[in-house]
Structures are given as structure tokens and as C-alpha cells.
Amino acid sequence: MPEITLTQDPVHLRHGSNIGRPLTRRDGLLKVTGAARYAADNNPKGLLHAVVAVSTVARGRVVALDVEAAMAHPGVVEVMTPANRPALAGDPDAKPNPLVFRLDLLQSDRVRYAGQPIALVVAETLEAATEGAVLLAPRYESEPPAVGLDDGERFVPTAVGPGAPAELRHGDVEAGLAAAAQAIEATYETPPQYHNPMEPHAVVARWDGDRLTLDTPSQAMAMARLRLAALFGIPPENILIRSPFLGGGFGCKGLLSGPQVLGVMAARLVGRPVKLALTRAQLYGPVGHRSPTRQRLRLGADGEGRLTALEHHTLMSSSRFDEFFEPASNASHALYASPAIATLHEAVRLDCGTPMFMRAPGEAPGSAALESAVDEMAEACGLDPLEFRLRNYAEVEPTTGRPFSSKALRECYARGAERFGWERRPLAPRSLRDEHGLLVGWGVGTAIFPALMFEAEARAVIRRDGGGTVEIGACDMGQGAWTALAQIAADAVGLDGERVEFRSGSSDLPDGGIAGGSAHTATAGSAIHSAGAAVVARLAELAMADERSPLFGAGNAGVVARDGRLHRRDDESRSEGYAEILERAGLAEVEARGKGAMDAAAQQRYAMQAHGAVFAEVKVDPDLGQVRVTRLVGAFAAGRIINPRMVVSQYYGGMIWGVSFALHEQAVMDRRSGRPMNADLAGYHIPVNADLPALETILVEEEDPHVNALGIKGVGEIGITGTVGAIANAVWHATGVRVRQFPITLDRLLG
């Protein structure tokens, strides 16, 4: 395991042995005993239950609600409608910046999507509230909704994703295509997808005067707090959000959703604590989804199989009233070398809830199409798909010419291919069968995900008893923040993990930023790292300025913090324990804060991406078209690995999302009503255990001196990219049939 090399301040080095260890989860004991408390597990005294009533039409007005019938039901305490909802200080339709999304908080009788909350019933029991919501029997004036990508007028959005340009043109695509020896054009479609975390959004809210306490899952507590403060007109410090565990997030708990706020409003209305938990079906509307896409790719290659042009055009949708545009074409920015690259986006507006960041937003559908198209191009050139990818390996970022901060993709290809046995792959499709007569196919896809960073702050304390505390309002939605960040924290303050109290998961701690964009470990970890550096520096100053310390005068040489002691760097035999230093200084503790943020200069100079290669084997029933993934090997390089056990789990999770994208999940929209017809876990298929093959991941070593002081890239989303294409390509290799519509279901394969 490599030692931490500090790049910021050579005077106070810290050497630790926590980072890099495959520790089991620190929250494991709580999670296997049922003691981990998720939002809906809170039952404060005097609690009332709220149930949301949602619209069954996608566009129109609510013209009648039978509030009397609901109120008459035993146990019902209140019905909250646009007529009596508490006044808000902030307009839920205001859009001060692109990361504030418009919410449906009963501001009017207008219905703008199916599944929109139209009323809330509060009752003494969950059963009474549920029945009350049914008794509301809403009536509507409805208008025909726009449901699919062909239903709206196309336009070019001003920005896609979190603010990227909708169009980028590098070189001359038309000239590249004209000069190509081989060219292909293909259109791929991906369906609307819903995050479906296992934990439906829930909130337990309690007001005490103008102070608000809420238990609710959040991938970004500080942002949620600001939104609530603006909506309710109270200072953010008056709001405490507790979110120690999220039952999955995947993006739909990144920004506060409407129903979470409705729970808070209900608590204010009735003056008692209120619990609101959405049903599974209610997740298909107000908490975001991934837009459907139709992606057209045009590729040209010369006689050697080198790309001459790559154009990636995406048509996607947003809601009629707000903006999020799935940036799928941008998956083609940084992966394959081509003298001409164009990435283009167009959108339509539909009568649906606003789409939202969903695990690998843009990258997942974009990679699915790009990796399929690259395979089709390889086929047209008569080349092995891996060889084709190697011939088009980007040594620098193709659209900018910037060097990569690090890129071990070649090693990923090589090690994945070797492990998988790729060299035995016959070029022609439909040429492998297993002993049962099933068609066998092998496919490859390249994985790529940007190494992002947001902003976070942490606080570190070293105490006279020789222990430490590190605090950060970070979020663990399963990726392992409780464990990985604690490992970083221990090394940051030069202590053994058991001597550091790691506090997290609550909004009264320093802002841990957002758990999203695969950037949380890098960002929160960097904040912890710099808080640790700062607190060690204070301790070092105390010691080096004190004649009685063996470290006196070490100033120029500096010290190393390790195992609760500072060592003189030029003479490690001269050292002193934290406790002695603080004892003599008469201090109970020293503390410091630190920030984590991207290094703008480095970001300018380098392209920063994690990479990987995914190899898939599928077996297809030649008569029934049933597809099973039987083997998946993913080799990934993502900078420094903090906890390999947790990183492997993240890669597996991403790859399984890839399997789901390729073969299983899709919302099927009813074109008349605008409602998803499969808004439950029986109809909206996600993989079950039996759908999963032998999975394998290879952690390819990669040192990155530029991304951040710890050298961390993200691992949470990259696993989806590459995997979808690898599976689609394997299905083609097994059958000779190219299905360009995801998920690849047996009807599409046979049809």
C-alpha cells in the first residue's frame, strides 16, 4: 500500500495505515441487527401519520376533493389541500439557480404530471390516513398529455446536465465522414427509468416554535437545509436534518423532493410531529426519473480502423415546467480519439415529473449508445472490437488536447481481457454454443466517468487524552462513507482508527457537500484530510516552539504525525505524544477546520476521468430469445482506493445497474393517461439475485498526483458505463441481431 504523500505542506507529514485497508463496514453491526435507524423508523411521541393523495391524470386541474368524507373517517385529523396549506415564505416555483427544482407543494389546483401530490391526509394511524386519502375521490378536468419523445416540439436546451453546453463541435464531422473508408449511422433508444431506491422517501418532521427537526434521507443535507429555510422563512440554523442512513439514493435524494417538504408543512399545520412515507407507486412522479433518450450516432473510420468522425446526437425530455436535460451525448467527449467530434442535444417537454440526476446521468445512456455504435463500427471495419478500441485510444482528451491527469485504461483492457479469456473470441457472430445448445456471445465496453469534486468542510480535534474527533455532515447511502471517511479521518490526524471518533450524518456538523457525482469520497475526504493537516500543524507549532519538547526547533525539518505522536522528520527517534504536548501547553484540545474543493488550476490543465473495461458473456436461447448474463468481468482504474472491499461492492453495484439497464428496467408509459403502467416492483423489473452471474472486478492501480491531495477519483457510477454496451455487444455476438432499443427484451430480439 502506498503511503500518503502530502503535496500541500511538507512540514507536517502524516503517515497512516488506515487508508487502503479492506475494513468491514463500521455501520455493519447496526445494519444486520435492524438497529440502523432510517427516517421512517423514527416514532416520536404524539406522532401522526400522513398519506399523500396523488393525481391520476397528467395534465389538468383538480376540480373536486371530498374533504368531508375523508375528515369523517375515524382517526383522520386533518386534510391538507391548496385551500388550507400553511403559507410559505418562498415560492416553490422560484428558480434562483439550476440546482433548485420547482416543487409541487399544493400551491394551486393545477396538475402538471401523473403522480403529483394533490392533497395530504393526516391521521392518528397509518391505516386511517390511507383510507382517508382514498375517500378524497378527486375529480379532474384533464387535457391530453404529451407522453413520448415524438409528442413535443424539439428545441436545443441552453444547458444540459448540471450546466454543460448542449452542443460541442470539434473538427469537421461532415468532412471526416466524407473521407471515411467505412461509415455507420445508428439510432438507439433508452426508456424512462426510475431510481427505485429500496427505501421510499420518508420524513418525520417536528416543529418547536420556529425550530424544525426532521429525519429524512438526504444526499446533501446543507442544500436541503437552505431550501427549507427559504421555503419556511426561518434561519438555516433553526433546522436540524438527521440523515445517518439512506436506504439508497442514486440521485433521487440529492435534492429535497416535494413530498418531503409536504410532510414538514403538515407538521406545521397540525402542530404535532408527522411521519410521511411515500408508497412505492408514489416514487413514480414527484421524486425524479431518468428521461427517455433517442440517440443517433454517426461514425466514420479510415482503412486502418481509425475514427475520422464521431457525432453523437441525443433527443431527450424534460417536464413542461422545469429543466433537467440528460446530457447523454457528452459520454463521447473524452473516450475515443477522433479528429472530428460533435456532441449535440435536443429536448422536448412532456407532462411528467421533472427528470433528475440518476446514477451516471448522461453517462449511462450515452455510454450504452456509444459503446454499441463503436462495436458496429468495428464490425464494419472487420476488426475485433477490443482491437478497434485500442486503435482509437485517446492519449489526450480528444476535444481539448489536454493530457489526462492519469489514465490506466490500457491496463484495464489488458487485465480484463486476460481474465475473461478474450483472445479466444471468434470474430464472427453466432459462432459459439454451450453444451445445452444456447447461443453464447462475448462483448466488451469501455467505462468512463469524470473525476469530479464539489465543496465540503470538516472539523478535526486532537484531545489531551490522546484521542481525536473528526466531524463532517457527510451522507452514507450505501457507498460506505461511515467507513471510508473514517479511514481517511484516522490518517488525517495521525491516529489509529479506534482512537478517532468519527461523527457524520447530521446537518449540525460542517457541510459535507453532496453525495453525488461519484465525488463524495474525494470531496469530503479532501476536507477531512485538510482539517487533519491543520490540526496537526497546530500541535506541531506548540511542540516546536517549546524548549522542553524533543521537537523544539524542528521547524525547518518538519515533523511526521503517526500513531498519536509527532516525530522529527530528520531524526525519527526524537518524538513526542499528542497527550504530552497538550498537557504541557495546558490545553484540553486543539481543533481546526479544513475544506475540500477542486483545484481549479489543475482542472484547467488536465482532463480528469476514471476508466475501466467491462467484458460480458451472455447466453441466449435460440428459440425463445431469453438472455442471461453469465459472466461479467470489470477492470477499473480510479485513482487511490480507500477501502477495496467497499469499492468492489460499488463496482458490482454499478455493473448490476448496467445489467438492469441492458436487459431489465423500463417504465412503460400509457400514452392516453401519461401514467407509467408498471409503477411497482413487480412490473418495473430490476435484477434479482438469480439474474446475476459470476461477477468479477479487478482493481487496476493508478496514481494520480493531480485530482486532489489524496489522489481519489470516484467509483460509484463508473460501473454502469461500459457494462450496458458490453452486454448489448455480447447479445449481438451471440445472435447476430443488433437490438438498438433498451432494454434488450426477448420480443425485441426475436422481432
Binding site: 468491514t24 463496514r25 455501520d27 455493519g28 453491526l29 447496526l30 445494519k31 444486520v32 441487527t33 435492524g34 438497529a35 440502523a36 435507524r37 432510517y38 421512517a40 423508523d41 416514532n43 382517526g75 394511524t125 397509518l126 391505516e127 386511517a128 390511507t130 427505485n196 431506491p197 429500496m198 427505501e199 421510499p200 442512513f245 439512506l246 436506504g247 439508497g248 439514493g249 442514486f250 412515507a277 412505492r280 447511502m477 450505501g478 457507498q479 460506505g480 472491499r645 467497499m646 468492489v648 461492492s649 460499488q650 458490482y652 453495484g653 454499478g654 455493473m655 448490476i656 411497482d680 416492483l681 413487480a682 430490476i686 435484477p687 434479482v688 439475485n689 438469480a690 446475476l692 461477477l695
Partner: protein
């Protein structure tokens, strides 16, 4: 109207006066007895997060009405370790194996996965065949995708528990 039922939950007899016949076993556990380990992921028997042992068999607690559980014996995740604390840290061997094999990420489906695994091992149908374990665990969804670890954990727990049984049998024979 009130419905009185008596049931054993994790070895403790609970007398419950229900004011409502619509209460499911899951809502009884979570909202009235405040045993919140069992999770509600779908309330339709489609996800398995609420799996408990009802009279020794694994069931979806969201599909059982509480009034129908009069006289029943229920074991939830909170009571599992007490049944067999022979695993690490005083845990049931299945719980310990889930930690060792990282058989979860967010942890929300985990109580259901573990109770389902205990049920599966008791059923004795899966043995040490990974394919049959995967099949037998397929009523429990995991959106994080921890399936590989879950399968390994169940196989290991199965080995530990079977070895334990064999040991007991030998002791009995002796």
C-alpha cells in the same frame, strides 16, 4: 371495534388490542410495537424487505394481516441474534456472514435478506449450490446490487450452521 390478539414476538408474548382490522403484521411491528428493523419497501410483497419468520417460515410481513397472527410466533431481525449468538460479536451466523462478505450497502433490504436467508437455510433446499441459493434469495430485491456478497454470505452461513448441526448430532450420538 377492537380486536385482541396475542402473539409471541422474538420470544416475548405481546397482547395487542387492535383498533383496526386493516393493520398488517409489518405495520404492527413497525408502527405499534416500534420494532422498526423490518422495512417497508413496497407494501405489496414484491421486494422482501419486510421478511420475518412466522411460525418458523419466512413470509412477507406486509402481506400478513395482524389479526390473522393470533397465537403466532414471530421472529424479526431484532430477535435473531438471541436465537443463535454463535457468530462473531454475538451475532447469528447469518448476520456475521453478511458483514464479513459485505452482503449489503445501504442496508435497507438487509433485515429482509437475512431473515430470508435464515428461512432458506432452514428449508434445506439450497445446500451449497450457488445457483440454488441465488434462486432461493430472489424474492428479496437489493437495488444497491449487493447480490454477490449476499450469495457468499448465505453459502458461508449455511456451511457454519450445517457443521454446527453435524457437531450437535455427534454430541447427541456420543
Amino acid at each position: 371495534m377492537s380486536f385482541s390478539i396475542s402473539l409471541s414476538v422474538n420470544g416475548v408474548t405481546r397482547e395487542v388490542a387492535l383498533d383496526d382490522p386493516r393493520v398488517t403484521l409489518l405495520d404492527l411491528l413497525r408502527e405499534r410495537l416500534h420494532l422498526t428493523g423490518s422495512k417497508k419497501g413496497c407494501d405489496r410483497g414484491q421486494c422482501g424487505a419486510c421478511t420475518v419468520l412466522l411460525d418458523g417460515r419466512r413470509v412477507n410481513a406486509c402481506l400478513a394481516l395482524a389479526v390473522a397472527c393470533d397465537g403466532a410466533e414471530v421472529v424479526t431481525i431484532e430477535g435473531l441474534a438471541a436465537q443463535d449468538p454463535s457468530g462473531a460479536d454475538g451475532l447469528h451466523p447469518v448476520q456475521a456472514a453478511f458483514i464479513a462478505h459485505d452482503g449489503f450497502q445501504c442496508g435497507f433490504c438487509t433485515p429482509g435478506q437475512i431473515m430470508s436467508a435464515v428461512g432458506l437455510i432452514r428449508e434445506g433446499q439450497a445446500g451449497d449450490d450457488p445457483e440454488r441459493v441465488r434462486e432461493g434469495m430472489s424474492g428479496n430485491l437489493c437495488r444497491c446490487g449487493a447480490y454477490a456478497g449476499i450469495t457468499e454470505a448465505v453459502l458461508e452461513a449455511q456451511r457454519v450452521l450445517t457443521a454446527g448441526d453435524a457437531g450437535h448430532e455427534q454430541e447427541d450420538a456420543a
